[in-house]
């Protein structure tokens, strides 16, 4: 198992290096200029050129790339070209918000999605199944910015239970919970939709297995058959989907952060892109890559937890 983790982390380093190099060159090939963003649209060409020189953007790409690599290896990710603040500091200042949002919605999505999927499977082709399928289809199809606005209209404007701006100054536990509620529900609905669908189909498959029929035949109570015997065996696809869709969750968290005005990685990367903030983009991409790599690793390890037959080599 340790060897497995080390091997996977080794791959991760290679992946990171490749992604970094690719990003480094892609952002620089894009037209657009951070110097212009900094100086504004009244700046003369000469002052833009002077700032480009100060930022080191006038050097040959290869030199810039080597400087960047050396810095990165030494843990120096540079400073944001636009704000002048350290990239790592900027990312770390908002990373907890994104992690908090993602984990809470993941949790909500699973505790909503798994029972709903089981319920649908057990009642196959009956009303609960149809209803679940329609609702989860809605969850899959409604973009996060649409469902977000709908939630705001219902809970913040009509009912006035929650504030529209989910980034309060109230840092108490209840304050944070209130800020988190609507964005987390918004993301959780999407996650729940995926989880519901995959749980339903996995459960349907398992319920058709011989051992389930045997258990039922010998009079095991229905609840025990489903939750103890069948559930465990349909967890593998569910975990796969959770791992895979965590990426989608992070993507949707960009939109959710924007709609609910929460701080987070999503807003940071969108800002960096429109400002052509090369150093910031590089730092962000590394973080995203790391997250995806780690999630994949955790997903693989989770297989072993639910299924002792899984071997790590």
């Amino acid at each position: 198992m340790t060897a497995f983790i080390i091997k996977r982390l080794g791959f991760a380093v290679v992946t990171l290096f490749a992604v970094l190099s690719l990003v480094f060159f892609i952002v620089r090939i894009l037209p657009g200029d951070p110097a212009m963003v900094i100086l504004g649209d009244q700046a003369s060409a000469a002052s833009i050129a002077a700032l480009r020189q100060k930022l080191g953007l006038d050097q040959p790409l290869l030199v810039q790339y080597l400087n960047f690599l050396v810095g990165a290896i030494r843990g120096d990710w540079g400073v944001s070209m636009v704000s002048g603040r350290p990239v790592i500091g900027e990312v770390l200042s908002v990373l907890p918000s994104t992690i908090e949002l993602t984990l809470v919605s993941l949790f909500l999505g699973v505790i909503l999605g798994v029972p709903a999927g089981v319920w649908a499977a057990v009642n196959r082709n009956r009303i609960p199944d149809v209803v679940t399928r329609i609702v989860s289809l809605l969850g899959l199809s409604a973009p996060a910015f649409v469902s977000g606005i709908v939630l705001l209209l219902i809970f913040a404007i009509a009912l006035q239970w929650f504030p529209v701006i989910s980034s309060g100054q109230d840092t108490s536990f209840s304050g944070r919970l209130r800020d988190l509620a609507l964005p987390a529900v918004n993301l959780a609905l999407i996650m729940a939709a995926y989880v519901t669908r995959v749980t339903r189909s996995a459960m349907l498959e398992v319920l058709g297995q011989d051992y389930v029929r045997t258990a039922r035949a010998k009079g095991v109570p229905a609840g025990v058959v489903i939750w103890r015997h069948a559930m465990r065996n349909c967890l593998i696809p569910v975990i796969t989907v959770i791992g895979l869709y965590l990426g989608i969750l992070i993507g949707n968290s960009v939109l959710t952060e924007i709609v609910f005005n929460r701080p987070g990685l999503g807003k940071l990367i969108v800002g960096a892109l429109t400002q052509r903030d090369y150093t910031m983009l590089q730092g962000m991409i590394v973080i995203y890559t790391l997250i995806v790599v780690l999630v994949n690793l955790i997903t693989d390890l989770a297989y072993g937890l639910v299924d002792p037959r899984v071997q790590y080599r």
């Binding site: 000469a46 002048g84 209840s174 509620a181 609507l182 005005n261």
Partner: protein, 514 residues
Amino acid sequence: MTLKPAILSSLVLGTLLSATALNAQTLRVAVPGSDMGTLDPYRASATLDINVVNWLFNGLVRIKPGQISPEMIEPDLAESWTTSSDGKTWTFKLRDGVQCQGGYGALTADDVVYSLKRAANKDTSSFYAEYAAFDTITASDPKTVTITLKETVPSMLGLLVPYHGGNIVCQKAVEALGAEFARKPIGTGPFEFVEYRPQQYVKLKANEAYFRGAPKIKEILFRYIQSDSSRDLAFQSGEIDLINGRFEDSWVKRMAQIPNTKVDILGPLEIHNIHLNMTQKPLDDLRVRQAIAHAIDRDAIVKFRGTSISKAAESVIPGGYLGFAPIPLLKYDPAAAKKLLAEAGYPNGITIKSIQTTLPAMLTTMQVVQSQLRAVGVNLEFTLVDHPTFHSQIRQDLSQLVYYGAARFPVADTFLTQFFDSTSIVGKPSAVTNFSHCDVADDEIKSARTAGDIEKQKALWVDAQKKIADKVCAIPLYEMGQPWAWTQKLVFDYPVKGSLNLSPPIDETTQLRN
């Protein structure tokens, strides 16, 4: 199934958690955008940054609060000033009792000298070029600042209002804070910086020691809310008192329906022009440019953008700027357009290649123009790019036709120089935004700068506008201001026509009534 528990949990949370009471004297502001860039006044050029800078700093002089015309200049940090007869030596007498915020001590003439030198230095200022005519800046005693100029400038006092390089900082604070100054600005203005939370807000508090008196509003919470819908909803739900709006007719009308809300369009106006590259075929032919001007129906475009936020342009520079005058522009006349094209040797029409931004408001306007041009046989081709790319490529002279909207310091010289003086032609090292390669009014623009006498200056600026319009360097479309809405609890002590820093002037007199 998935919704029911969600609603339940919301219900529980909603009843458990009570709303936190905010200070009744907290003014909550929301602007579009994701985050603050810099609050260093000599670097801040983005609207949402200068919006905040507006409430933190003073200048030697200022434009009367709520006004934007440089003809309304009054004392700010300087209580009086004198000018030498040649207009090249200016002496300012500072007022007593001005304290730097944050306990950095009394403001002295040395601070003013330090500030203006910083504003004129290309390593510390984005606006250094505006101060190129400054020769020496000296403090002869703690209350006196003398500025000598290499040559007279079109609006000397205009350079010293709290806008861009005219903001005065405190030397000790800048030196103590170093790079941090951009995030923790220290000024002398009615409000002082308290806190910045990335992607969320900047918090300011009343400067109780403000030399004009302690502000009635005790706190400003300046929020960055990127999503248009959420920002509007936050205003609607009463979580925001003052909101920077969208450049949309529908926004103005919708906000006006919210009870107890005032919606206003503030200056300075920006003008939206179409610049034609006069050095490239077929646009090098005056008749072709005239044809295009005749083909464009300005009133239809205004109607399209909405009459609540826009009006037809009357010159090549925005209305209300010092030196602006309505001038005769070519009228909408498709028949004349076709005739001119035929005379120029293009009876079958022409094709013009252009780069357009995907920003919806700009793109849709150009689609209207595109269809108007098609009616007379001008085929306007679009290459669509994202907004940063657009800005970069039009400055590389890659578009035959450039659609550009801009507001500038409201003196004709700034706008004319940046858009129509040959030194600003794109591609040159001194380039700014002269996309048309216009050089027909260089003499007038240059003479006006050093004319000294204001009436003479104004006459030269009017001549320049006429010449530029005659040669169709640019086709003016429409003007629009800054849309803002605020709760009627927010009461200004004076009429608010606008502000150079594009945010309503909140000062010691502004109130938030309960």
